[in-house]
Symmetry: C2
Subunit: 214 residues, 2 copies
């Protein structure tokens, strides 16, 4: 049986919240999360793609994956989504920090078994990870669907932490002759690289140029 | 007592390795990691800054933090460093994926207690997170050092996974009239934002313009 996760804010309380809309915004801005779980007293943290479907988050992977079997079997997990927004340069190392948005979701995932629900969930994932692309690629085959496990985790027990402030130096440091401020960071797309086997004359799709990465 | 972590490569074996130099390269290119551990049968995954000091990684936090106390007390943990390098757009959703570099480090952290070693470790962290800045900011005070816990985790038991390939579509999909390839992603710095309380006439430091974010 799973205990209740301890989600009390102990440190930096003013940065913490349980705001559902804020959690959704952060998840929707991310492409990946880090999934943590424990097996035989050993912690594991694994990066995975994610998307949100209303009040739950979706993860997917191979049916052959031990990870998917364990998670789908109800192993307690923590799914953490972090977006690094900037470096906060204070006048001292001690007061320097980072700006970020982070959601930690606690719970037990379940496997989606209904065929229609699974197709819909996987399309939500594709639509989130590569917006616009679904209209252009072929539908998944039955074989592909059978080779994929779709997991859902309720967006029910979660905490949000957001740090988005300029440096906060004590007054005695504020006269130091050193620059202080925030260096914003953002994931940006570079030049699309065509597959070596791409047929001539197929242009880079327009939807791809609209993708943003928060 | 801690069990041995299960670090066998089960899925996508060709992407896996235990190459120490490669692990170092990935860690050195990252500013943050995700630290996973389990307490009372509940998994937690928390983003933290990290740096590498030879054959060990460094983490730091407040002495008041429960997390630091637990990790420093030898709680088995998994420190995962992930750099998302691109989206791999195949001709189908099923074969689409992501390019990334990932290191998972397993073990038990310890607290650095020696004053000189702690100062040196924290300077390695600052030097990694904000290269060049140490020469410009004041040294940490004894009070600040006492308020900070420095953790070391041996870079001993780890796995590396790297995915850096173009889409690999089956031959039956290769004639589909849809663009396929890789959209590279990279964390990039925006325009530095001066602190509201910054005195006039202090320019943005030159070292800051050289920072790269892999």
């Amino acid at each position: 049986m799973q205990n209740q996760p301890d989600t009390r804010f102990r440190r930096l309380r003013k940065k913490g919240s349980r705001d559902f809309a804020l959690a959704c915004n952060i998840i929707d801005a991310a492409r990946i999360c880090h999934v943590g779980f424990s097996l035989d007293n050993q912690a594991y943290v694994i990066p995975m793609a994610l998307a949100r479907d209303g009040i739950r988050v979706l993860l997917h992977g191979s049916v052959a994956s031990r990870l998917m079997k364990n998670l789908g079997g109800g192993l307690p997990c923590c799914v953490t989504v972090t977006i690094l927004d900037g470096l906060v340069l204070a006048r001292s190392a001690f007061n320097s920090s980072m700006n970020y948005r982070c959601v930690m979701i606690f719970g037990q995932a379940g496997i989606v078994t209904g065929a229609d629900e699974k197709i819909r969930g996987l399309e939500i994932l594709t639509g989130h990870l590569m917006p616009g692309r679904l209209a252009e690629i072929r539908p998944s085959t039955r074989k592909e669907l059978n080779a994929t496990t779709l997991l859902v985790l309720p967006l029910e027990t979660f905490t949000v932490k957001v740090s988005d402030s300029p440096p906060d130096d004590p007054s005695k440091d504020q006269d130091a002759p050193v620059w202080a401020g925030v260096l914003p960071l953002r994931l940006k797309a570079g030049t699309p690289q065509a597959a070596p086997d791409l047929a001539a004359g197929i242009p880079v799709p327009k939807y791809l140029r609209k993708w943003t990465f928060d």
